[in-house]
């Protein structure tokens, strides 16, 4: 399997020099990073490794969005509220300076202790959270601030009021707002990238995943309950739908994998943040070479090309 995997990645590396987004001096750094990833990923993750990522992605000590904000940004100003109904604490948004430039940052936010978990609904946003995100995206667009999104949610909040307030429409409109932006956008999955609630913040020019994060259409438990009719088959489900970073990269769903300290991001949050910062800044440096119109066009083209289907002869 290792051979096959290496081949795939080398193939990706081979394509890289012709990728329109990566040009000139930046390409060499990009290749180096991918080569480092290549070295780390010696084999396609085993089923056990996939499950280990699920556990690490949900680890209770894993750094959350506001932890990374502390490491990444200067002059952080958190912005609150959707200007309509609420300030949803499951999504945080604000402005700060990253490597000398002002960026807008939006991320899901889980709670660290029991009280905060309830206050932030375990990182599961209501429509109000996505409306707040859209509002801050519009500020970014108006003032030319690049947008950085950190994705970390089990999914959008599955409640009565959330439905009444239009959960589906809010997620659709958050993606639409990202599809319209004419500023550089980078998203990174830093923990759980759960379904629509996650992708609402991930329609970006560059989508990254931390090494031990997961990105999936459904939770392993949910998938097991529906397809195996037994929630306990969650490991089997995860092995089948492959939410780990290596597979997402292989499927072309994400543009890069951000390494974590050995043992996972929670073992050394400072180092995890340093690695995240490097990846985000490199991506922004690349993207800032392009006009807003060009960014938008390429962003849409990228997502337009996603998926694997057959064409019957």
């Amino acid at each position: 399997m290792a051979r096959e995997d290496e081949h795939r990645l080398r193939e990706r590396l081979g394509k890289l020099t012709s990728l329109p987004l990566l040009r000139g001096a930046r390409v060499s750094g990009e290749i180096k990073r991918l080569q480092r990833q290549l070295e780390r990923i010696e084999a396609r993750p085993s089923d056990e490794k996939i499950w280990r990522s699920v556990e690490l992605a949900r680890h209770q000590d894993r750094p959350y969005t506001l932890d990374y904000v502390q490491f990444l940004l200067e002059d952080w100003v958190e912005l609150h509220g959707d200007r309509g109904r609420a300030d949803d604490a499951a999504i945080v948004a604000g402005l700060g300076r990253l490597d000398g430039r002002t960026v807008a940052l939006i991320g899901h936010q889980k709670g660290r202790d029991a009280r905060e978990r309830v206050q932030r609904q375990f990182g599961m946003a209501y429509p109000e959270g996505y409306h707040k995100a859209i509002r801050v995206m519009e500020i970014a667009g108006r003032h030319g601030f690049p947008l950085v999104c950190l994705v970390d949610t089990p999914g959008a909040y599955p409640g009565v009021v959330a439905e009444q307030h239009g959960q589906g429409g809010a997620i659709a409109r958050s993606q639409a707002a990202m599809a319209r932006l004419e500023v550089p956008t980078v998203a990174c999955v830093i923990g759980e990238g759960g379904s629509g609630g996650a992708v609402a913040l991930a329609l970006a020019d560059r989508v990254l995943m931390q090494e031990h994060s997961i990105y999936s259409v459904i939770s392993p438990e949910g998938c097991a309950a529906i397809l195996w009719r037994d929630g306990a088959e969650k490991q089997k489900a995860a092995a089948a739908f492959k939410p780990d970073a290596a597979h997402c990269l292989e499927l072309g769903v994400v543009d890069g994998v951000v390494p974590e300290p050995p043992g996972g991001a929670h073992t050394d949050p400072g180092e995890a943040a340093r690695l995240l910062r490097e990846a985000v800044v490199d991506s922004l440096d690349d993207l800032e070479a392009l006009s807003g119109e060009e960014l938008r066009r390429r962003r849409r083209e990228k997502f337009r090309a996603m998926g694997v289907y057959a064409v019957n002869a």
Binding site: V160, G168, A172, V217, P220, A240
Partner: protein
Amino acid sequence: MATPRIDVSIEHRGEPATATKRHPNTCPGCGSHYRDDELEGSLGVCPQCGHHFPLRARARIAHLADAGSFVEEAADVRSDDPLGFFDLRPYAERLAEAELSTGLGEAVVIGQASLDGHPCELAVMDFAFMGGSMGSAVGEKFCRACESAVEREVPLISVTASGGARMQEGILSLMQLPKTVCAVEDLHDAGIPMFTVMAHPTTAGVLASFASLGDVTVAEPGALIAFTGPRVVQQTTREKLPEDFGLAESNLRFGHVDAILPRSELRPFLARLLRLFGRNGA
């Protein structure tokens, strides 16, 4: 509250797991039973109580498109099995079975048509094909419908019926959300209108992407329109659900759809929209 982890799932209103299987031609509203030709004659609407039975994609197109006007597009686009997905049965087997039982290549049918003389593009989903779930092929076909509409400068009419994303394609099925959203944004930028008809059920990934972005959105009576269906909400939050949770009627009250239209009024309504959104009001 335990941490809920599910937010995309395929489920069916009014069909508890323990219920005895009802014959598809027996009305869940009033218990009347119909022959196939009776239901066809009534557009799948119960003459007794007005219940709207699911309408298959071909029947929907036959109803909406002017006779002989429909020209199917992208019929050759089929699902692949990128993950080699295998749950209790292989995905490939499920696909083959769906194709056999529905006579369709995928859960959506797209093509050119005219309605009351107005040229338009149709994208019609079929719940009978794997619960109308959205995988790569559905996403691709919807995008092609958008592009065909842009190219020919005609409005897009989209009829949705979907339990959500197609889990068997893993993360690729989730990517159909941003993919179709981008296609709709291109449509908007080109000034091409999109009208959405939400049939039962319109849920999860489809609701959280292209279905919610139309210029005008109408729903069929009694259709479930929800991102998270009632069973999952109930299981994860233990909340007491309102009687009409997620139904079209509730969605109208909460401001999410423009109107609820009985099937018999749909065609004249769409014709009216096509007149209104026609170039130079033509």
